[in-house]
Amino acid sequence: MIVGKRKDIQEIKDMLPEDMDDLLIVGCGTCVTVSLDGGEREAKSLRDLLTLYYRENGSEVDINADAIKRQCDDEFIDEIENEIEENDVVLSLACGVGVQHLAIRFPEQVILPGLNTTFYGRTSATGEWEEMCHGCGECVLDRFAGVCPVARCSKSLLNGPCGGSEDGKCEVDDDIDCGWELIYERASELDMLDRLLEYEPPKDWTTYRDGGVRSHKNPEFFGSGGE
């Protein structure tokens, strides 16, 4: 899923226009709710914290909070269309996708991000997430014992570790596991170390960001009988 982390409260406060009269905080009810920083609880909590802040500083801002299932699909946004239009400013707690989708839907509205989209990851422990995927557009997990060298090696190396790996840790940060150590360990367990001896040609990065802005269509929805 997409993992997000609420922005530092000071940054949020600084990005909000000084002269606003009302603010709508919109949580997003899927990925970033699971990563515990962008759902209804966070939206309401932020509403009450900012209300406290403005009150203590002598200004009256009418702050409302709501959450919808997904901010990246129009049908859910329809549910709060009126609310959005009634407020000067909208602070979205969705990932970058949701924030921009709102901005596309409401081109004349100020839509601000309340959350940093951090990565595609998994829940590794309660309240903890780990990056697993870069969305490179060409999955290579079959060739690396199910451990992604693109996302989990800090240098995205495809032909073995660099010289900076020590005791299973990455030279970029001791808290990071060496992705290649993980690949090696799992390949050993699966008895497929031989596969790692095969030369991996340079990856075609055009499916990633090097190919420019990406989009794709599902053919079942396009062509002769469709749109």
């Binding site: 530092d8 409260i9 000071q10 406060k13 009810g29 899927t30 709710t33 699971v34 515990l36 759902g39 209804e40 609880r41 966070e42 309401k44 909590s45 509403r47 009450d48 914290l49 209300t51 406290l52 802040y53 009150r55 203590e56 959450a67 829940t123 309660t126």
Partner: protein
């Protein structure tokens, strides 16, 4: 006694207890695939194995009774928990060296074994040197009498935390200011005890909390003697922790009484209705992961999480931590927020301390009593603070005396985050305080309140 096939009064994971009045079966921990349900009505899923297909068992209660994993600090030594007759019997002239509390303190039962071994050796040999190295002699049953007898029969007791003890396969060296010893002989040591292999997986499958050493009972006064955090799941011997060695008989008797009581029907802990709105629940599992009582599971039909009424012990932690705001309780009322100091107190600690105080230390303050301070929602803290010139004080329990095990630690995390946000906005975070106290600390409550008020008003 329940009669139908695969339906039991109790399922033992590990060694069963002998009691003919209970309809029981036992399984090995590695055969458990999963557990659903609650006290009175658990369903255990068993893995397929050999010719056995995957199967299910129903049971009112679960008892986990596993051996300890034992490891000797020195491979060449004999273990105090083993058969020592070859070292103790006959006219053995070699010194006998018994060592406990090495390196960690051994439970009282180990002292008993050690003292009995020393006395047995003395019974068989009047001349033999017997050394007993220890840090602290721990007493149970007749240990004090055994200790006195051993001393009077010239067993030499040496406290090894007062000196330096080095042990290897060739012998023992002990040095302290007034003594220097180099000993060779029959070495008998207390084993290091740890939870049985697979305990962590078991905790996950049964959704019960572990202590810091991995045992299935947290160090908490509410769990004594054999309760786990989950109603209807009991822990014995190597599942519970080293102290279980000391009170085995009492613990077995307590557990059997509980098992029989569970068959006569189980009541819910409180009258409140807690509900998860299946339209709002996003099945993120946060409620299940934070619940200290294993009271939440997924409802497959609704594809939503659900709270099991009898398993729920009423801390409200799931409600305050649900990121989707999907959980409600019948007793939650919209509070009219007032200015002035607001105090949220736990009914198990601060409330009792308050009652014990001579003059009500909370007089004149807006007080809300909650079943656990984990009930507190972060947003409510801010809205309380925003209600005029108010301060918020949350009074929780100390960890080992928190009825909801992790509830008070979880609340402290919420308060810390809230204070951090307040600081970053240059808001006075001394207006928000978290303080822990036990039910006996009435005086501390008064003192703390005075100091805090002084801090806030300056």
């Amino acid at each position: 006694m329940s009669g139908s096939q695969n339906q039991y009064d109790v399922v033992y994971i590990g060694q069963p207890l002998e009691d003919d009045s209970l309809n029981f079966t036992s399984i090995e921990p590695e055969n458990l695939a999963g557990c659903r349900g609650e006290i009175g009505d658990f369903t255990l899923k068993l893995k397929a194995g050999g010719e056995e297909a995957e199967s299910k068992l129903s049971t009112a209660s679960i008892v986990i009774n596993l051996p300890y994993r034992e490891e000797l600090p020195l491979e060449e030594a004999d273990s105090l928990s083993g058969d020592l007759s070859h070292l103790l019997e006959g006219e053995n002239e070699k010194p006998l060296i018994i060592i406990q509390d090495y390196p960690d303190l051994s439970p009282a039962a180990v002292s008993k074994w050690g003292l009995e071994a020393a006395l047995k050796a003395r019974e068989n040999s009047e001349q033999r040197d017997i050394y007993y190295f220890y840090k602290a002699m721990r007493f149970m049953e007749e240990n004090d009498e055994l200790y006195e007898r051993a001393r009077s029969q010239e067993v030499i007791f040496l406290k090894h935390d007062l000196g330096e003890l080095n042990i290897d396969k060739d012998g023992v060296e002990y040095k302290r200011e007034d003594i220097e010893l180099e000993l060779e002989g029959d070495l008998v040591m207390a084993p290091r005890l740890s939870p049985a292999q697979g305990t962590e997986e078991l905790a996950k499958k049964l959704n019960i909390e572990q202590d810091e050493k991995g045992y299935l009972q947290k160090n908490n006064v509410y769990l004594q003697p054999t309760l786990s955090g989950k109603r209807g799941v009991y822990v014995l011997s190597g599942a519970r922790g080293p102290n279980a060695l000391t009170y085995q008989e009492e613990e077995i008797s307590y557990t059997l009484t509980e098992l029989k009581r569970n068959l006569r029907g189980v009541e819910e802990i409180d009258d409140e209705e807690r509900e998860i709105d299946d339209q709002k629940c996003i099945v993120c599992y946060t409620c299940q992961r934070v619940c200290p009582h294993g009271a939440v599971q997924r409802d497959d039909e609704l594809n939503s999480m659900t709270i099991m009424d009898k398993a729920c012990q009423g801390c409200n932690l799931c409600i305050s931590r649900c990121p989707a705001g999907a959980i409600t309780r019948s007793g939650e009322e919209e509070r009219e927020l007032s200015a002035g100091t607001q105090v949220i107190i736990c009914e198990n600690s601060a409330s009792i301390a308050r009652d014990k105080a001579e003059n009500d230390p909370l007089q004149g303050l807006e007080v809300e009593e909650v079943p656990c301070v984990s009930t507190v929602k972060r947003e409510n803290i801010f809205s309380r603070l925003a209600a005029g010139e108010s301060e918020v004080l949350v009074l929780g329990c100390i960890s080992e005396a928190c009825k909801h095990l992790t509830g008070h630690d979880r609340c402290e995390q919420v308060i810390e985050k809230a204070k951090d946000d307040m600081q970053k906005l240059d808001l006075d975070d001394s207006r928000l305080q978290y303080h822990r106290l036990s039910p006996r600390m009435a005086q501390d409550l008064s003192t703390f309140l005075q100091e805090w008020k002084g801090e806030v008003s300056t």
